[in-house]
Symmetry: C2
DNA sequence: GAGTCTCTGTCGGCCAGGCGACAGTCTTTT
DNA sequence: AAAAGACTGTCGCCTGGCCGACAGAGACTC
């Protein structure tokens, strides 16, 4: 679902959008700040100018990541999701009404929306799959494997090192489980030699493909 | 997320799309036929011309409805979802490559996509919520209440009648549970006087709002 | 009306995983 | 270095819900 070649922001720099800038108000958010939370009643559309923001579904105790928005991504606040700045971030905001009137007809804008929605949708399918079909262990393995594939550091001996600066409790939230269960599972994985934990927040996966295959087995 | 005023099909009837018709191939599907199933490797985009088609996530034993597409809706086959004709249906199909080249730049097309994706996304959030936070009973109540609100027949005495021509087994699938559990829960609801079952596939909810409130209580 | 099928209700066994509790360990502060 | 605080590992209990099994109950065929 990748359609965008040109960055949406560059596109909006063009002269024909000059008058639009008056209604696109720039807002800055510090790292960790919330761009939106469900239930605040605000109904805005925003475009990320700089920084990274994380979109997630959250409830009292659990939270499921839906995606990371970066420069040029566009999203709406009235979707029942949380949007939090992962780094200091700047966004352009406008209300939905103005957005519809002025911007919906623009293919670059809708293309950006399709891209973002498509990605989030894909992630949410994965989440549903995980919740409906996989046990906690599989979800944990999937989380680590994902992280390894995406941001892992491959070492000379073929192992992959990943840095997850999250407490066990936070990891548990991400996969919709509990501290105790995750703690136990991680130790099981270590005892089985599938992962090592050289230090806090750091994991070492000696053989990633073997590791991944373990997650798949426990399918019901 | 409703942006479309003009129907996409009318839009495509315009003269400037005349040459496009050669690549938009019309396909008919009988009621119950599959427009796409995951894993078939096909990578097509289609627009619904007539009929209703149902999009759902399915696995061996369970299936989760994501939405119903009708005239003018546009969707893609490589999303890992099943798409099944609920009635006899006609769709216009083309491959993704052509679609990107010829149609992605058109705001009506992308608007339709945003609308469809937005709806499906919303539904999938609801599913995640249900799976992660609600027990089977809540999901069952939600399903029935939803059906009642949407297609229910309000009787004079304030009760609502709904027609669900599904076996208990099929209902169980829709909420990701089992025949036995659903059978038990339905009987519990009947014993509690919250629903009645005058005949096969028919339910009667004497007081819908009371009924709905029961579903919410069991939140963890 | 007898046989066959499909659907429904109910029971008992079983287990993943949530939760409270508590001890041990690592960090930070003063 | 001592105290306070946060994080981690484990144990045991308990429950929701899956599963197999089996017995009615309608429906359909011959």
């Amino acid at each position: 679902m990748k359609f965008l070649e040109e960055n949406l922001l560059d596109h909006l720099q063009r002269p024909e959008f000059a008058e639009l800038h008056s209604v696109l108000i720039s807002h800055s958010f510090p790292k960790g700040g919330y761009i939106c939370q469900p239930g605040t009643g605000s109904n805005l559309v925003f475009i990320v100018v700089s920084g990274k923001v994380r979109v997630y579904l959250g409830y009292e105790e659990k939270e499921f990541n839906l995606g990371i928005l970066t420069k040029g991504d566009i999203y709406s606040t009235h979707t029942g999701t949380f949007v939090q700045a992962l780094t200091d971030a700047v966004v352009l905001m406008t209300d939905v009404k103005t957005f519809r009137r002025r911007m919906v007809g623009d293919p670059e804008v809708t293309k950006a929306m399709v891209r973002v929605l498509g990605n989030i949708l894909k992630t949410s399918f994965t989440i549903i799959d995980g919740l409906a079909f996989r046990d906690v262990n599989s979800r944990l393995v999937a989380l680590l494997a994902n992280e390894a594939r995406r941001h892992g550091l491959a070492l000379q001996d073929g192992s992959v090192q990943i840095q997850i600066d999250l407490s066990i409790e936070q990891i548990a939230r991400l996969i919709g489980s509990t501290r105790q269960t995750v703690s136990m599972l991680l130790n099981d994985l270590m005892r089985a030699g599938l992962i090592e934990r050289p230090g806090r927040g750091t994991f070492l996966i000696p053989n990633l493909s073997v590791f991944e295959s373990v997650g798949g087995v426990t399918r019901s």
